[in-house]
């Protein structure tokens, strides 16, 4: 499962209080989303990279994730320059490539990479359970927290059920091709997946009820703010303010 691949580690980000990290991630994302100057955007990207480095997360998995993000951003580079009105920077066939479009694509790319990097560094370094618990501590409505936690839980279940089904089809000689048999088989698999996941979800819920679950999530290791949390909060907030400062000075 790819969800918690960054959650184990011993860096300052791994050991910091998830409540602090959630607040920082939210603050960083909001400020980065609204800044318009190029300097601010580059600073934001740099901030994201610094966070990644301080979490010791520079690895293959990170590149894989960033490749997906940038694959989608690449489409903007094809669309925005030809659809944004403005001064023509170049001409390809009869299409005007506008300077404003290129600028816009660059802005989106910088901001997006900055926010995704910061979120990976701040949020993926905690387990989903800890994040859910921290959200509850931050007074996020309990229903939303549970929705979030169970989505993750069911996602995991659905994924493993799907792997089982695919394996079961594989051992009976199923090889996907572009034909009616393949479409039918996939349709059956997806249908079966829904039913199995639903039933599994119900059983999990019943098991939780049997153990006295009443809507409250408990975590054994409770959160306490340490000196490192204040340090992280102080340094990161100062950086976020600096980015905002560049914008308004």
């Amino acid at each position: 499962m790819t969800c918690e691949r960054f959650a184990s580690g011993n860096s300052i980000l791994h050991r910091s209080d998830p409540r602090v990290k959630i607040l920082l991630a939210a603050g960083f994302a909001v400020v980065t989303a609204v800044i318009e100057t190029r300097t601010g955007q580059v600073l934001a990207l740099l901030g994201g990279m610094i966070l990644i480095l301080s979490g010791g997360l520079l690895n293959r998995e990170l590149f894989r994730r960033m490749a997906w993000v940038n694959f989608f951003l690449l489409m903007l580079w094809f669309i925005l320059p030809v659809t944004t009105p403005g001064n023509a920077a170049a001409k390809i066939w009869s299409l005007d490539i506008s300077r404003e479009g290129l600028e816009l694509a660059l802005s989106v790319t910088l901001k997006c990479n900055a926010i995704v990097l910061a979120n990976i560094a701040l949020l993926s370094t905690s387990t989903i359970f800890a994040i859910a618990h921290a959200l509850a501590h931050l007074n996020v409505p309990s229903r939303l927290v549970q929705l979030f936690f169970f989505s993750w839980r069911y996602f995991h279940v659905i994924y493993s059920e799907f792997r089982r089904l695919r394996r079961a089809a594989g051992v009976r000689g199923f090889e996907p091709a572009t034909d009616m048999h393949t479409y039918m088989t996939y349709a059956h698999m997806i249908g079966m997946l829904f039913i199995r996941s639903l039933e599994r979800g119900e059983r999990v819920y019943k098991a939780m009820l049997c153990r006295g679950f009443d809507g409250t999530f408990w975590l054994l290791t409770h959160f306490h703010l340490h000196r490192r949390d204040f340090f992280l909060a102080f340094v990161s907030s100062a950086y976020i303010l600096a980015i905002a400062g560049v914008e308004w000075l």
Binding site: F129, C210, R211, W218
Partner: protein, 224 residues
């Protein structure tokens, strides 16, 4: 009858149950579990054994009939919430029971829900794991354990709530003989007032129960 009241721990009276659009599963089940009874519940596939367990804990609602637990009538979810910590249900599939990111958290989940302080819940979880000889699994991720280990952890998750009655639904599915013997040993050491075991495993039935009932054609009949 004398004035002596022998209170049944679990009593089902005239229970009828049917899943939507399916055949009737239970048709007038009368059953009681008394203090000290170690019962085996036998029956073919789809006879309604698991359904019976779920009805006892209020996870399913009977179409008709009366469920009394520890001498009190249970009709609403609120009634059942009170008795669930006192009756430990071990699910057929350990994957249904384990959902926390670590074994220790899963085992402490029940005690925490019962309102225990964190330190106490943790201590109890550790003790329970130790009594099952699986303390070393404490920090492992439940989904990555082997089938036998998962089973022992799910047993620990149930026993850590210190239930008085155990309902064991096919506890040895997928376990080898060695593991089965270990499980029988663990259960004998646990001070349960009574238990009901569903199993097709003769070795387990012989090792754990003194009296067997058969669930057949929607009714419970005694076999011994």
């Amino acid at each position: 009858m004398d004035a002596v009241i022998c209170m049944a721990l679990i009593e089902l009276q005239n229970i009828y149950f049917q899943y939507p659009n399916c055949q009737k599963v239970l048709e007038g089940v009368n059953f009681s579990l008394d203090d000290g009874e170690k019962i085996g519940l036998l029956g073919g596939n789809g006879a309604g054994k698991t359904t019976l367990f779920h009805l006892i804990l209020g996870l399913l609602v009977p179409d008709q009939g009366r469920v009394s637990i520890f001498g009190g009538y249970c009709g609403t979810e609120t009634d059942f919430r009170k008795i669930r910590p006192r009756i430990g249900l071990l699910f057929q599939d350990p994957d249904d029971q384990l959902f926390c990111p670590s074994v220790i958290e899963d085992v402490a989940f029940g005690p925490l829900n019962m309102g225990m302080a964190h330190a106490d819940a943790r201590r109890r979880a550790v003790n329970t794991l130790e009594s099952l000889g699986i303390r070393h699994l404490m920090d492992r991720v439940p989904y990555h354990l082997s089938g036998g280990e998962k089973r022992l952890v799910s047993v620990a998750a149930v026993l850590s709530m210190r239930p008085e009655v155990l309902l064991l639904d096919e506890p040895t599915t997928g376990l080898d003989q060695n593991m089965t013997d270990r499980l029988i040993g663990v259960l004998h050491e646990y001070p349960a007032k009574a238990w009901i075991v569903i199993s097709h495993d003769q070795r387990l039935i012989d090792g754990l129960t003194e009296k067997n009932y058969l669930l057949d054609c929607g009714r419970v009949v005694s076999t011994s």
